[in-house]
Symmetry: none
Subunit: 145 residues, 4 copies
């Protein structure tokens, strides 16, 4: 199973609306399938040129490691060299800050991941969670653990 | 001036609808700003993993060269090595087949470019043109010349 | 809107003159458009080979992040791994030291960015600011905040 | 010995003036030292985003091979795979079309190379030659052979 384009677009739209309603900086939202390929992306006006890559990287990294950003951050705190190595292996597509969130079906099946960037990391994450909820899917950030 | 997210999303939605209405293979549509950064992207269900990169490349290449895909194809026919060099310089982000279309305002100002991939190139291009028209903007494919 | 070659050349000339008048080490000055493409560059005699890349990177990074070098430095202090990731995503084109300065029109429109390297970072930044002022444009370094 | 910034700027200015006077498309001119590092670059308004890289590549390639573009083209005609290999080794920074020109002092000493792109290759080359002449230096294109 994999996230559908309809689901991805719902997530993107709702995440951006959350950011706008909360007065965030312009956000960029990326939705990836379980293999890490882009399904949908939108970058709000006024965002920097690298934001699409960062949004993708937040999502790609959690799928790449099979670990939430919080778990990646804990590993990086244990071993900074470990993070350096995997970040290089991934061509930079691993972030250790919140904003990359697994998307699961209600039965727990992995459907993909969402990456949001543009504001403070916890706000990015909140927008991702809002987007996933709007699609009727389940968000996994690691904060639940 | 640069394309807005609202305009980009209209283009993406209308291009995908054109493809669906015409019975095309699943399409991927990317909209880039004049500097080549992604503004919006959507990949229809059932598309291959590299399609987002190809859609982006179709648009990035025309912005990079300042030439339509048709003009790039003519240069490549003149000098295949020229194409080899510029494709390497661009990290692969240049295509010489239709599907990358400049987007201009009605006064001619360059707003960005659209890249579509997934069906035969001329069909990809038709979807891009339909999307740009739906946004009330002007498409430049090189076919007009 | 984007910076013109005439404006860029004025910035480069005035920044280099500032450095020479102040007795700085040889400087390299790069002016980029809002998308991050080079518009003008000059490297003073006696400068190292990598200085053009560094000058470009100082400017590209602020455009990529949509943040001044000082803001990038603050993020890096918060999370060194965040900087590792974005530096990798940007191919090294992000610096967290002064010398990359946004260029705006008097009405605030972003026109591009200037990157200077060669002397102490604050001197590099001063040269960039002098160059931008000579072109009648507005410099944004983050020091104003 | 190496080209000075003053010489490089004279070359850039005169090459661009040649293009403007002849009604060429917008040009990009790059001047590199004998080691291939950028000394000066200018991109005329309206040029594509990749043109700075192409201008640099035209000059870098002749310095990299120690051969003019015409000689490189002859090798490529003999062995297309040879060109593919060296283009990959050089990261794309080798072109087989005119527009990359060696710069020598009047006593024959190599000072660097100029790369011009934006119009038809022979016009690019003519602009480079005009620029080098304006600096009182000697241009070597391979057409003399």
């Amino acid at each position: 199973m994999t996230i559908t384009l309809d689901q991805a677009r719902t997530i993107v739209d709702a995440a951006l609306e959350h950011g706008t309603a909360q007065g965030f900086n312009p956000l960029t939202v990326a939705v990836l399938d379980p293999g890490g390929a882009l399904v949908a992306l939108a970058r709000q006006d006024g965002s920097g040129n690298l934001r699409p890559d960062i949004a993708v990287a937040k999502a790609w990294g959690v799928l790449g490691m099979g670990m939430t950003n919080r778990a990646i951050a804990a590993r990086a705190a244990d071993s900074p060299e470990f993070f350096t190595s995997v970040a290089a292996l991934a061509g930079g597509r691993i972030l250790s800050v919140p904003g990359g969130v697994f998307v699961r079906a209600t039965d727990g099946t992995l459907l993909g991941a969402v990456g949001v960037t543009g504001d403070a990391s916890l706000n990015d994450e909140a927008a991702a969670v809002a987007g996933i909820a709007a699609a009727g899917l389940v968000a996994q950030t690691g904060a639940e653990e």
